[in-house]
């Protein structure tokens, strides 16, 4: 069977599975729709959290980024896993004991204020839409490369699938679909990684393989990579180029942001008990760690492979994957010195993404002609980072079914995260805005209908962003984490650990944290991007790491304001006492 048929089979079978699960587990009540009635087994919830959390960015882009930045890539590895420790120990068990449906609901009730709840809803919607736009685009890209359909058609198919299981199944449907999606994506990630590890080092465990010697020699893989990198003018793979301060702040922002992301927190509302919420966070991180410890191994294998395959190779003698990915625009070559060979050294070959000549214009060696103006350096090769995972099986000459598996895995990663985010958006609208503010008299059936309509509308908006991606998608991701770090995390943490924290303190803190972080990112990313250099940054902290600062400001302002304003009422202090002990956690219920 040829690879294309295999891809159709794998992707088709996985989609059929997701839809089958959705029909089997459709939701009949708001409790099922919002939190799967709090009846999910901790291991199942751990897998679902893994799939919910690991997006197209984790699956497709992360190893590629690490591949190109070396040790500094650790900010993502530590940042996106360390947050689970905070979540497990400081947030999840207490929020589960609180036993409601949404994060804004906790904020609103703990701070006895509808204003706080509405501020929280706005943050939730903003953070989640920022995130979901990227996912829909990811779906489109995987479809266009592997199924040879137009990117827009790909986005439509993705929308249709998510529509079926998010609108029909709600949290219950999403949970069990995500369990299946986790299995698909982890197989898809591990199998090529294991293959390549065996090929390059003889060790079947990639995590150990990339610290071993290269097969048939006594040189360590990382030493070889350092050597190759230096030879071509790149910095050493195992040393960093970012300042320590910046790495520190970015890592804190990512960790705290992870712990504060509403679509992750809400997953812990779905388990039966408080002790299950703790355990489930452990399983979630374990399942995530399988991929996250493999990614840096894949990154170094792929980097060695890429350099060895293309450096000084004649274009006409390159393997077919090169032309395949050139066709989809993720690789481009500009033969600056006209020798027909690829010179791959440090520096950008030209400015920006490659612009290919209209029609299928070919150069002297048969390469696609790029119309960008060349830069002065000797580098001739443009490589999109995503290729390190997507093309890895082809670069390593793995069989066709492995390539098909990657296609199904990439789609699973993007769809599962998109569904989780869309659910959070629809829940905030139907439960936190409609039911608690605008139309408190609707009955449960109407609320459920509203949630489904909101999910459908959110899918349309997400699809629109997938088809017409705003140019700034990549830049606004810093927003999602920065804002979650500067707003939710401190508000929830103090809500649990500081009994005296009052509404004035929490609202003031959230607003100061939000506005500061928002303004800093907007200034450096949109208003004055030319000034976005370390010299101009506050204490040398980049916009990616500024959420940490916003968080500190939030803590300081909240504490100061709470000292000079009246303490929270008696019943709120009792509420805090109550959420601190595990006993008595029932299934989540609505507050009206």
């Amino acid at each position: 069977m040829d690879t294309q048929t295999l891809i159709y089979m794998f992707v088709g079978a996985s989609f059929a599975l997701y839809i089958g699960i959705a029909i089997w587990s459709r939701a009949g009540s708001t409790s099922e729709y919002y939190v799967a009635s709090g009846g999910v087994h901790p291991i199942a919830n751990g897998m679902a959290t893994g799939a919910d959390w690991m997006s197209a960015a984790s699956f497709i882009s992360m190893a590629g980024i690490i591949s190109f930045v070396g040790r500094d890539g650790a900010v993502y590895l530590m940042g996106w896993t360390g947050g689970y420790v905070l979540l497990a120990m400081c947030l999840a068990p207490y929020l589960r004991k609180f036993g409601k449906f949404t994060v804004p609901e906790f904020v609103g009730e703990r701070y006895y204020s509808q204003t706080a709840r509405v501020v929280a809803v706005i943050c939730v919607i903003f953070i989640s839409f920022t995130y979901v736009a990227g996912q829909m685009r990811g779906v489109g890209i995987v479809f266009s490369r592997y199924l040879e359909v137009d990117i827009n058609t790909g986005v439509f198919i993705g929308m249709a699938i998510v529509f079926v299981y998010a609108v029909l199944g709600g949290m219950k449907g999403i949970t069990y679909t995500q369990v299946a999606q986790y299995c698909v994506m982890i197989f898809a990630y591990m199998i090529p990684a294991i293959y390549i590890s065996i090929m390059m080092t003889g060790n079947p465990i990639p995590q150990i393989g990339f610290g071993s010697t290269v097969s048939g020699s006594d040189v360590y893989l990382l030493d070889k990579l350092n050597g190759l990198s230096q030879e071509l003018g790149f910095s050493q793979y195992t040393s960093g180029t970012k300042s320590t301060v910046d790495v520190f702040f970015i890592t804190v922002a990512l960790m705290v942001g992870t712990a504060g992301l509403p679509h992750v927190i809400v997953r812990f509302f779905t388990v039966p008990k408080v002790s299950d919420a703790r355990l489930s966070a452990g399983y979630a991180l374990l399942f995530i760690a399988i991929l996250y410890t493999t990614a840096p191994a894949v990154a170094s294998f792929a980097r060695v492979n890429l350099i060895e395959t293309v450096s000084n190779a004649e274009y006409q003698k390159l393997p077919t994957w090169f032309a395949n990915w050139e066709k989809s625009g993720l690789i481009a070559w500009q033969d600056k010195n006209g020798d027909g060979k690829i010179q791959y050294v440090a520096g950008a070959p030209f400015n920006g993404a490659p612009a290919f000549a209209e029609g299928d214009v070919r150069g002297n060696s048969g390469e696609r002609v790029v119309t960008n103006e060349s830069t002065a350096n000797g580098n001739e090769l443009y490589v999109d980072r995503d290729i390190m995972v997507l093309a890895n099986p082809e670069i390593a000459q793995l069989p066709g079914w492995v390539i098909a598996l990657i296609a199904a895995g990439g789609l699973a990663a993007a769809l599962s995260t998109a569904a989780g985010l869309l659910l959070v958006i629809s829940t905030s609208i139907s439960h936190d805005l409609l039911k608690s503010n605008l139309a408190p008299n609707i009955n449960e059936k109407q609320e459920l209908l509203a949630a489904r309509l909101a999910a459908a509308a959110a899918i349309m908006v997400a699809g629109y962003f997938g088809i017409n991606p705003p140019g700034f998608v990549a830049q606004v991701v810093a927003f999602a984490f920065g804002l979650a770090a500067a707003s939710f995390f401190p508000a929830i943490l103090m809500g649990i650990f500081n009994k005296k924290m009052n509404k004035e303190g929490a609202i003031a803190g959230m607003l100061v944290g939000l506005i500061f972080t928002f303004a800093y990112i907007v200034y450096f990313k949109f208003v004055n991007p030319a000034a976005n250099t370390p010299d101009n940054w506050l204490f040398g902290v980049s916009p990616e790491g500024i959420g940490t600062f916003g968080m500190i400001l939030n803590f300081v302002v909240s504490y100061a304001v709470s000292k000079v304003t009246p303490p929270p009422p008696e019943h709120i202090q009792h509420l805090v006492d109550d959420i601190r002990i595990p006993r008595g956690a029932g299934a989540p219920v609505a507050d009206h």
Partner: protein, 88 residues
């Protein structure tokens, strides 16, 4: 709330905070300590093909995180039982 239960709760919470302080110190040490602040010093030590700081940054910190959560689960379940706050 009875006086006894209140004291019980305060003692439980105090022990909980102690567990958190210890585990989060380890959390900080392996990631921000070994993986960021002291990474260059640790890189002079090599374990197999890995410079040690690099290993902590890209592998070791994550393994430690996983272990920390499971240790936390175990300690908290024990604590819940000790103060009779565990769920039926």
């Amino acid at each position: 709330m009875s006086q006894h239960k209140k004291e019980n709760m305060e003692a439980y919470w105090k022990e909980n905070l102690k567990i958190l302080a210890i585990l989060l110190t380890i959390w900080f040490a392996v990631s921000f300590g070994a993986g960021i602040l002291f990474v260059d010093a640790l890189d002079t030590i090599k374990v197999g093909g890995f410079p040690l700081g690099f290993w902590f940054a890209q592998q070791g910190s994550i393994y430690t995180f996983v272990i920390l959560i499971f240790v936390y689960v175990w300690l908290m379940n024990r604590l819940d039982r000790k103060y009779d706050f565990h769920e039926e």
